[in-house]
Symmetry: C2
Subunit: 266 residues, 2 copies
């Protein structure tokens, strides 16, 4: 049974100067304003992209999770490579949290993966080679997915806790179009390969990372999104203020929904 | 190898009062104006939806084909159920013409299909039951596709002349969403089933036929179009003046293209 696509706001990120400053100063005002705007724009979850938080990682991530969860019941996605910060975020969590994420990189397997078991939360696994390289094609990704799946099993994590990110490279890469099509195949084929309805997530803006006109980038993203939906994608990380993209996500859900169609859904 | 999606303008149709009048009076001016606008808007082929042409079908279709082909080199799609009109259009044709189309309906099998052989042209086959009913699901459509394929073989028509229209029902039908997904499966599976890269065509506006707000209809159409593209659709009939939809079609071609990606394509 096809579940509706879950739209995750990627707007709370350290690359936003206002957010950067708010995190540095523990200023809850700008965080709350952002969360309110994200929820109003249709966010179904909030990605906390805090960067590595090299100074005071525990205090800062706990501050972020606390501040956000006072404001909203939406799930939070703890999006940092710093295990200390992840751990502090999970300790602070009083609602629903997702770890974003781990890969076959040894440090992540050892330090991040076990937290999904310890805190009984969902965790995103990236289909990257152990050295961090992006796989060349669908077949490499599927092989890595099996390794990721086994790593979860070995860590005693319920398979239903796993969410797979097939890793979408920029379309401007030499083989970017091929990779975009391979990502679709991976999303389609994963449930059959792993023999359960494994969830998947993609960061949509990765498609257009790098140079390019804003309007063309947005057009490309909202043209690729329905392809992802039709392939069976479960969740998408998007700039929630890209209203046309969010409208397309809603339209895709209306098209693929199993209930009776009504124009009100769109 | 994936070919780019071919965008066919569905704008030259009898339901347009200006076109209706121009056909009735053999007025070439409005036809030429329309063709120029369609070509400027990005049409790669022109559908001549003349209706049944109950009076003077031969003279009228010949007039249409002649008028259009004086103006443009784009292929013309002769879109009428009247065999006499089709025949006259094919006789008038001096460039590339496609017959639109036939089905398992006995009259069409006998009178329309043989013209693809006689005039050595492409022909669109509709996946409809012999009584004109829309199939209930993908499996029924695939069974009909095999019958359509056999009918072409029996008529001595080169299989590469066949273009299949899986017949997309309105999303507002009771099972409209299911049908929209089944149409995607059919497009994906047909080349494997028939064991050659059979081309497919869909009338995009069929998805939103009936009541509904214009803006919501357009949003739905341009959200479904990338799903069709990713499934491998060869041609789409669209209102070529829906610029956002045409931009999405171009973006899909840029994403799925096998050449090096450049922003200039979009």
């Amino acid at each position: 049974m096809m579940q509706p696509l879950i739209v995750i706001a990627d707007n709370l990120q350290i690359t936003n100067k206002i957010i950067e400053k708010a995190i540095a100063n523990y200023g809850s005002g700008p965080i709350i304003t952002m969360i309110k705007k994200c929820e109003a724009a249709g966010a179904m979850a909030i990605d906390i992209n805090s960067g590595p938080l090299s100074r005071n990682p525990k205090k800062k991530m706990a501050f972020l999770v606390n501040t956000i969860q006072k404001e909203t019941n939406l799930p939070v996605i703890i999006d940092t490579a710093n295990p200390e910060a992840i751990c502090a975020g999970l300790r602070a969590n009083r609602k629903k949290a997702i770890i974003n994420g781990f890969s076959l990189e040894p440090g992540k397997l050892e330090k991040i993966l076990p937290m999904a078991k310890q805190f009984n939360t969902d965790i995103i696994g990236y289909l990257l080679h152990p050295d961090g390289h992006v796989p060349a094609n669908a077949s490499d990704r599927l092989q890595i997915a099996v390794e990721i799946f086994k790593a979860c099993e070995n860590a005693g994590i319920d398979k239903n806790r796993l969410i797979i990110d097939p890793v979408l490279p920029p379309i401007t890469w030499e083989n970017g179009q091929f990779q975009a099509m391979e990502v679709l195949s991976v999303i389609k084929f994963l449930p059959e390969l792993l023999d359960f309805p494994v969830r998947t997530v993609v960061g949509l803006s990765n498609l257009t990372a790098g140079n390019g006109e804003r309007e063309k980038k947005l057009l490309l993203e909202r043209s690729y999104l329905p392809m992802l939906c039709a392939a069976g994608l479960s969740m998408v990380l998007v700039n929630i203020f890209h209203h046309e993209t969010i409208k397309v996500a809603k339209a895709c859900n209306a098209i693929m929904n199993k209930d009776i169609f009504t124009w009100e859904e769109i």
